[in-house]
């Protein structure tokens, strides 16, 4: 069954309805069950990856997804190797790339850059992370992982811990999950890194979604269905002193895990620095590497859906 997403952009999680997301997740489930059936779906199609900021897993994940679908990839992984170094505007770069490629994935340090790209072209544009703003394909990964572990979304108490101010994956995750019934959030962060006002007001308060803003991870651990850990991102700080002061604020280790439910999911968008101790990796509740694998499958589903080749 087609997802109805052909030709669309994914700039932020709300661009797709809950039903459209569900179609995408079902497609991803089918890809996970029988990836060989999709090995030729994108033959003759070209994906452009425009990465104006460093990335390992997101870029590899998109490239692996396209290659596993039989398609090909062009692009750059740092802007100095492209005409951006000559001062070309983002709009012009995207217009040019649209002459060659069928679909573009953009990561950019400036917030809202993928929207500018989408306005410049009819080619579908996927936001692969824009500054500290949004990261909707990470959210697809997160939701697919929760859905596959729990059999559905909704009715969950989710703890989100770390850098909630600049952590773009957090903003996208809260926005996306806020549309499911019975959600509750525990927002665990230092005061300096609390969630942005637009998430608090426009998403949580406007949606009437219960949430608590707390400082200590230990205080909320026993009640959580899932804990989403994030990295305190050095590149989001204007000053290094603040970074050094706050970077070790929240570290998940085996001792804290003893406070958690036996089925609490531990999620992380990766890369991790030291916010999850390596000893937690062996805990069956640690799902972050499973998440990374799911990321490739859900991106395969997304690419097929936007190109209209999912059938």
């Amino acid at each position: 069954m087609p997802t109805g997403l052909k030709g669309r952009n994914l700039l932020e999680p709300m661009d797709f309805s809950v039903d459209e997301m569900e179609c995408l997740f079902r497609l991803a489930d089918r890809v996970i069950e029988a990836p060989e059936q999709y090995a030729d779906r994108c033959r003759g199609r070209l994906l452009a990856t425009l990465f104006y900021e460093p990335s390992t897993r997101t870029r590899f994940s998109f490239e692996a997804a396209m290659l596993r679908l039989g398609g090909q990839v062009i692009g750059f992984s740092e802007p100095n190797s492209s005409s951006v170094a000559k001062g070309e505007s983002l709009s012009d770069t995207v217009r040019t790339v649209a002459c060659y490629a069928d679909l573009a994935v953009i990561r950019h340090p400036k917030e809202g850059a993928p929207r500018v790209a989408a306005l410049a072209t009819d080619m579908p544009v996927i936001n692969a992370g824009d500054g500290g703003h949004q990261h909707p394909t990470q959210t697809l990964t997160d939701l697919l992982t929760i859905r596959r572990e729990r059999g559905g979304l909704g009715g969950l108490n989710i703890g989100v811990c770390g850098d909630l101010r600049f952590g773009r994956t957090v903003h996208s995750l809260i926005k996306a999950l806020s549309r499911y019934p019975g959600m509750r959030f525990a927002l665990i962060s230092p005061e300096e890194l609390m969630i942005p006002e637009y998430v608090r007001k426009e998403v949580l308060q406007k949606g009437g979604i219960p949430f608590d803003e707390v400082r200590m991870l230990q205080d909320v651990m026993p009640g959580l269905d899932a804990l989403y850990m994030t990295r305190v991102q050095k590149e989001r700080f204007f000053n290094e002193e603040d970074y050094i002061r706050l970077k070790d604020s929240y570290i998940l280790d085996a001792e804290k895990m003893r406070l958690a439910r036996p089925d609490m999911m531990v999620l992380h968008p990766l890369p991790r620095v030291n916010e999850i101790a390596v000893e937690v990796d062996a805990d069956p509740r640690a799902l972050y590497f499973k998440q990374a694998r799911n990321g490739m499958f859900v991106r395969m589903a997304l690419i097929m859906a936007l190109l209209g080749v999912e059938r």
Binding site: L90, K110, E111, G112, V116, G131, P196, Y198, K201, E202
Partner: protein, 142 residues
Amino acid sequence: MVIDSIAKGIVIDHIRAGYGMKVLEYLNIDTGVNTVALIMNAASKKHGRKDVLKIENITDIDLTALGLVDHSATVNIIENHVISRKIKLRLPDKVTNVIMCRNPRCVTSSESGIPHVFHLVDEASEEYRCEYCDDIVRAGAR
């Protein structure tokens, strides 16, 4: 002070005292060509003090942004010496190139030539959201 009534044009009354010049700037009227009277600090029963703007012979200017500058002002369109229409100002749902995004991380700070677009979030608190970065600003604090 006496200023003649106008036969045709726009009278913007009950502008908050001190905001008359700002309103005039937003309307972007060529004061080198058109006859404009700006009365500042006039006595007002409603507000104590107010500014008033009279623009002669023009009735078709874009008032979209005016609600953002001062939505308590009243706009009267004058034709043949009488008020032909009263316009109630409200905060516009969307404004382009009126509020400029000040978030240094926003794409508008680096990509030239793109319009600064803001959407009304909350009328009571006069808050607007940047279309690109979602940064929220209060209309009065821009």
